[in-house]
Symmetry: C2
């Protein structure tokens, strides 16, 4: 096996969820694939690094500042959905149900990992609350996500802005039999009149 | 989400076993990682494409021709281990038990997929049988791998060269209870005196 192959396997195996074996599989796939494919991937990698930065409004990763969403005059500026990560933003956006703006924290409060309020993009959020009526906290329903939601509520509700939290409960299509007790107890306490 | 990000996710999702979600996870990981990492991956991708070719002897992917293994005077030139792919070669080499040479077919006979003997690197194998005493067929124990082994036996045994096949059976550490019937019947028929 040659050094360039070894190096590519090694580079792939630094990515999350990819070990030596998957790295080798990807490498040999690319060696047998259309030569345009590795080049396309390499160019996209270099491109993303030089052209992507944070939107100075919502802190999402973007090419243009303000980002496409913040610049869109058709979005409702009175609601901001706060998410942990770009993946959270993409997931909410994919529902097609939300027409407000976003704010990406790039993390959640995790004191044990040394992530306090100063490590999140909270200052940017506090600076854009003018005219905002509702903050929807869409952090993950994890311990840290919940703690962050409570923190945001304490910080923002006193300013007279409604702070809401996305619902937790049994996912659509799931079977109660297999739901974990915590999710089910959350679904019970969050019950609504039909 | 910006276009460079979308493009990188799209490029990742063309790789086997990687969909949109994993592509997004890898992309955002790289955007938050040490900037050296995406650059290292990009350079390895471009490098592997320009510097890797087939060894004219064993057909493995290599930078130098002949490859490191074929050029190594300490390897036993009387035994050739025939493998389907580079991954097969790497797996056998990792055992540390084999000191002969390899031959990479880059495929197996699969008539339904249009892969006949001409599509494999058989001509190169036939051209290097001088002085060879044993051919070990280490194709996968699949239908196609077995068919390829039988084909190689018919082709090469008449030349007075021993053609052997790696053993199939119950993997070490496995439980007979969970072994599939085909593997177990192979283990029975391949039994050896203690």
């Amino acid at each position: 096996m040659s050094d360039p192959i070894r190096r590519l396997i090694h580079a792939f195996s630094k990515l999350p969820g990819i070990g030596e074996k998957t790295g080798a599989r990807l490498t040999f796939f690319l060696l047998n694939a259309d030569p345009a494919l590795p080049r396309e991937l390499a160019e996209a990698l270099l491109d993303v690094q030089t052209r992507v930065r944070l939107c100075s409004h919502c802190c999402q990763l973007t090419e243009a500042d303000p980002c496409r969403l913040c610049a869109d005059a058709r979005r409702d500026r009175s609601v901001i959905c706060v998410v942990e990560s770009m993946q959270g933003l993409m997931a909410v956006e994919k529902t097609g149900e939300f027409n407000g703006l976003y704010h990406v924290l790039h993390g959640v409060l995790a004191p044990l990992d040394g992530v306090g309020p100063d490590e999140l993009h909270l200052r940017e959020l506090m600076g854009r609350l003018n005219g905002v009526e509702e903050i929807i906290v869409a952090t993950n329903p994890s311990v840290e996500g919940e703690a962050t939601a409570i923190y945001l509520h304490r910080l923002i509700a006193p300013l007279g802005i409604t702070v809401t939290r996305i619902a937790s409960g049994v996912p659509i299509g799931a079977d109660l039999e297999y739901a974990d007790p915590l999710t089910l107890s959350r679904a019970l306490s969050g019950r609504r009149p039909l």
